[in-house]
């Protein structure tokens, strides 16, 4: 399909292919359950885009096209693993159990985070490109010092692959043999900048220069993403050190709701990738191999619709935060400028209620 080094276990038509290093271990039930995850996450994304268009979200970063990469990687995690996302890892957040409405708090601009990152073992979204990749390596160094059998999975895109922090993270992970897996979703664009501007060699090959393995996986192949990630995480937990996974995929939508992709890419390319849709190929597999009936897909579709309605209600119920809350948790210990700011605001008659 794209190149011979690509790990693929399922063709765009939903036919299994064999690979010397990876074999799909998932049962039909598991595949169906992951299909459900993908459908719900896509529905979440569509609803969020609508909410943004209706003025209910400040911004949305869509993931359409990347569901296979994210649900594949997300479902490969063990409960005690820790994940460090960007702002587009909605599928990972879903797999980690982050309440969907919490995921939207950042985008509704009522929070700078949104959930308890220790509870869900899923770090808060990082918007400054690449910062979280170094944070993930540090966390992995902590895991190592604790002697824990846990792995860290961190995310970034082809755009962020040019950031110094990402490359420094490669050096550190390699030098300290940190139990971290770098999951790069190469969705072909950093806003408008094509991935060919970020790298003259396939991104996964960079790993070799840093001294650890790199794997390019078909990012629209859920089965392959699952197996490649699972193997890399197991290797990390067993002390084998880092792996770079390049999930070769395509961002079907815009970078964010502020973007207009028609200005920088041609429709014909988008059409090509439509035929590689991660959800459709799993559906084809389910029909062909597991004889899933239309009723099963209809039930999941109906569940996704109900989910979207509830999400909408939950988002609309999120009111403006109390302005005084801006002073909370700036510092862990008392600080005079925080006390002063809070006092000034109260004296101005602001805060303490709903506005």
């Amino acid at each position: 399909m794209i190149d011979e080094e690509l790990v693929q276990l399922l063709t765009p038509e939903g036919e299994r292919v064999s690979h010397p290093d990876y074999t799909s271990s998932l049962s039909g039930e598991e595949v169906l359950s992951m299909y459900r995850d993908m459908v719900i996450v896509r529905r979440l994304c569509n609803e969020s885009t609508s909410l943004q268009r209706q003025g209910q979200l400040a911004l949305w970063a869509p993931l359409q096209g990347q569901e296979g990469a994210q649900i594949g990687a997300g479902r490969a995690l063990a409960p005690m693993d820790f994940t460090f996302p960007t702002y587009r890892e909605h599928g990972i957040a879903w797999c980690r159990g982050v309440p969907p409405e919490s995921l939207l708090r950042l985008f509704r601009a009522v929070s700078n985070g949104g959930w308890d990152p220790q509870k869900y073992r899923h770090h808060v979204p990082t918007i400054v490109l690449g910062n979280q990749v170094l944070n993930a390596v540090g966390y992995a160094m902590g895991v190592q010092r604790d002697g824990a059998e846990e792995a860290v999975l961190t995310f970034f895109g082809d755009g962020a692959s040019s950031q110094g922090d990402v490359l420094e993270a490669f050096v550190w992970a390699s030098s300290f043999n940190a139990p971290v897996v770098f999951f790069c979703q190469n969705n072909q664009f950093g806003i408008s900048t094509p991935s060919s501007t970020q790298s003259k060699v396939p991104l996964f090959r960079r790993a070799r220069g840093f001294g650890f393995p790199g794997v390019r996986v078909d990012g629209n192949d859920l089965l392959a993403c699952y197996e490649v990630t699972k193997a890399a995480l197991e290797n990390a937990r067993a002390g084998g050190g880092p792996t770079l996974i390049e999930a070769y995929t395509y961002r079907m939508g815009a970078h964010t709701t502020s973007d207009d992709p028609t200005r920088y890419r041609v429709e014909a390319e988008v059409e090509v990738w439509k035929h590689r849709d991660p959800i459709e190929r799993i559906k084809a597999l389910l029909v062909r191999e597991y004889h899933s009936k239309p009723a099963a897909f209809e039930a999941i579709g109906a569940e996704a619709e109900a989910f979207a309605l509830k999400l909408r209600d939950d988002v609309l119920a999120m009111g403006r935060p109390d302005p005084l809350s801006m002073f909370d948790n700036v510092y862990a210990e008392p600080h005079p400028l925080i006390d002063e700011g809070r006092r000034d605001m109260v004296e101005l008659g602001i805060g303490g209620g709903v506005h």
Partner: protein, 328 residues
């Protein structure tokens, strides 16, 4: 009281050692801090005693030193990061202002960023460029961070321990020109809180405030001024962010005159903040405008001429003359 005489460098070393003995989660990270003991030998011998997993010789990448310290903090460790020199902190600036300063807030208080970034700062050692800067205002300006500076071995010993125990991130500024000066350290305790400003010499005519290397300069100026009949009250700021304004207000209400001393360039600086805040708080006590004795608005000069850039006793005394010259 058990006091021991030691240099500031040794006091920092002993303070770090004690912090590591008390809390197994304390780690040191930095360039050349292990076998070499750091370019200033502040961490001398610590890797030998605590091992390579706790005293980590890192690859040479400042953003990564701080960025991984953030991850370690999330995991429950307390990393003490050494920036080799003030002028090398800027690759880490992004991690410091984007993550270190904000993650307690962004996690709704779940994460504590209890890490310390040690920064040998200020000049006076005859170094080449990028080795003598005073970047404290960048950090003091950033909500979420705290900034302190020690000026004596006693404070170095205690403030580094207090900083490590503190649950907020601390930029710990060490006046490198004072590393090798000796002083008494009380190993049993310190009467001062981490951010307390301390009156080093009482006086009645002019309040002179500074931190780090400037404290010694101010004390010398006070000695000379006393001989000329002017009484200076010398205050060691210690806490650069937040500033212990109450101690400064008490002093200024007594003297009515203010001089602030710093090596950093004057404009939009810690000194600017002190003068502005005290003007607001002590307006009716003031007998003269507050004056800043500071570095000039130039890149730190080649060190052959650095003593013409750094505040000297003469420049402090000149400022004292100016504030004393206002009719009251």
């Amino acid at each position: 009281m058990v006091t021991t005489t030691m240099t500031m460098a040794k006091a920092l070393n002993e303070g770090l050692r004690r912090a590591m003995e008390k809390d197994p989660k304390v780690l040191l990270m930095g360039e050349d801090i292990g076998k070499l003991g750091g370019v200033f030998r502040i961490t001398d011998g610590l890797q030998k005693d605590f091992g390579q997993d706790r005293v980590i010789d890192t690859p040479l990448a400042e953003s990564a030193i701080v960025g991984t310290a953030v991850g370690l903090a999330i995991r429950g460790y307390r990393a003490v990061c050494e920036m080799q020199f003030d002028g090398f902190v800027f690759p880490a600036f992004d991690q410091i202002v984007s993550q270190v300063a904000k993650l307690h807030k962004r996690s709704d208080g779940v994460y504590t960023m209890g890490l310390v970034i040690r920064l040998p700062f200020q000049g006076g050692i005859g170094a080449i460029e990028h080795h003598s800067e005073s970047p404290e205002a960048y950090f003091a300006h950033t909500p979420g961070l705290r900034v302190v500076s020690c000026s004596t071995p006693h404070d170095a010993y205690w403030m580094i321990q207090q900083s490590i125990e503190h649950d907020d991130p601390i930029i710990f500024c060490e006046p490198k020109s004072r590393y090798w000066e000796k002083g008494e350290v009380d190993l049993e305790g310190s009467p001062y809180g981490l951010f307390d400003a301390v009156v080093r010499r009482e006086g009645t005519d002019v309040t002179v405030v500074g931190y780090g290397s400037s404290v010694k300069t101010m004390l010398r100026a006070a000695e000379t001024a006393a001989g000329e009949g002017t009484s200076l009250e010398v205050i060691d700021l210690r806490g650069i962010a937040p500033i212990d304004m109450d101690t400064l207000v008490t002093s200024l209400e007594k003297t009515g005159r203010l001089v602030v001393v710093q090596e950093a360039p004057r404009s939009t600086s810690v000194g600017s903040e002190i003068v502005a805040e005290l003007t607001e708080r002590c307006f009716y006590s003031l007998r003269a405008p507050g004056i800043r004795v500071a570095g000039y608005h130039v890149p730190y000069p080649p060190s052959r001429i650095e003593e013409d850039y750094r505040p000297t006793v003469e420049r402090v005394l000149d400022a004292v003359d100016r504030v004393m010259g206002y009719a009251s």
